[in-house]
Amino acid sequence: MKRAIRLLTLAAPVAVAVLILFGGLFGGTAHAYPQFQMSRDQTCTGCHLSPSGGGLLNENGLTTAEGISQWGTAPEFFYGKVPTPSWLVLGGDLRGASGYVQTPEKLLASFPMQIEAYGHATLPAGLSLYVGVGSRASEVGNEAATHVWSREHYLMWQQKPGETGGLYVRAGRFMPVFGLRFVEHPTYTRKWGGTPLYAETYGLAVEHIDPRFEVHATGFIKDPLTDTPEHSNGAAAIGELRLSEQLSVGAEAMYTQSTIDSQNKEQKIRAGLVAKLYLPGPETLLQFEGQFMNQLIDPRGAPKQIIAYLMASRSFDPAFMLDVGLGYFNENVQITQLHREALDVNFHWFATSHIEAIFTGRFETLAFGSAGPNAGYALAQLHYRL
């Protein structure tokens, strides 16, 4: 009995830490799936109100949610039982996960991931207002005031209101538009590639969406109101050209500058390529992003990094999707054995228009197991879209 109590005493802080960490690691994934691009709709705006994807769905997005799900059900907010005026769109996401984690300690963990609600109000003259409100881990010493926050809130002007293309201008708080914008933020190109979880900040974005090409340019500043994972001012741009209905290629760049102490500044310069290839036969979408990053810390230390991710996604009718991803991250190409690799597997089941169950797993090696312990996780995730 004493041994059991002692084990529980030892395990409790570990479990709490894992819960906090993985709640953060996997929390806040509000996006839908870039995997649907090309197989269903060419652009994010085909299904979403935001030009960079994620969050609230438009009418076509709701129809898609119903069409791909096993048992349909009314896809609208609260199944259409809560009518909203035509100028207002409401929604939200609830997520939680449970499973096995090995880093290298072997643990079972369960944690909430996301509790978030969104509203989008259409205003006159092509303007609209987007506000998201959700729960997060609170700031130490300021718990009462920081448990609820708004990750995204911005004013948007759209050149062609009601359509899914044209020019968009956004001002407010949102994630700088960069990379493939995967839902799964542990993917290397998000975690190490400039758009980690909760890296939303204040900025101005100018975006142009067209079935043949899209361009997004964002200027952003260090969040003056709250502390975020990135403490940088900077700019990001990405452009994609659709060469055919099956193939698109693109390029991206990001520059950030931050103050690291009273005397020094740090700069990061990222440049990369993105590509998407849809294979109609096997109904598989291949998505690739490769980044080179030069981090200027001081004259003697300038790590040159490579971050790459390749994901293959296949849909299985009526309601399943399998992703297999390969990640590569080299934190300094000039030093041996500083690279890591990951094999990711996600299996999605779209049970209803609102309910999704996901198995997500990762196996990660450090320099193919020669530079430290391996790590991994296998988690079951439940997602409910309001």
Binding site: P13, V14, A17, V18, I20, L21, F22, G23, G24, L25, G27, T103, P104, E105, A137, E139, V140, P186, W192, P196, L197, Y198, T226, D227, T228, P229, H231, I260, D261, S262, N264, E266, A275, F288, G290, Q295, I297, D298, R300, G301, P303, I306, A308, Y328, N330, E331, N332, V333, Q334, I335, T336, Q337, L338, H339, R340, E364, L366, A371, G372, A375
Partner: protein
Amino acid sequence: MYRLVLVGAAALAACNQTDNNRPATLEYITEAILQPSCSQYTCHSSYRREKTYAFDTVDAARQSLTRPGIVNTEEPELSLLYVVLTRQIKRMPYDSPLPDKDIALILQWIQDGAPGLDVP
């Protein structure tokens, strides 16, 4: 395409690779290792300060690492910073261990007297 990237990365890396001659300074260790690996929003960020430690800026790292026992220049391998990165139970970071060479650089910095830190 992934293979091409791997080959390209390996070729690029093989051009001028060295063993581990990176600067063992507080600035470098914070910005290249601790900040990207340990200071995620819900962990050791200045916002969350899990266990009261923050490593997202050099000033925050300096403040956190100056506490007694965290860095022990007399017996570097007994430094709590080194211990938590290498032990099997409650090892940090929780989501993904650090490569041995990052840990070796941190140990080297402690062995050098932890420059940039006023160790008590």
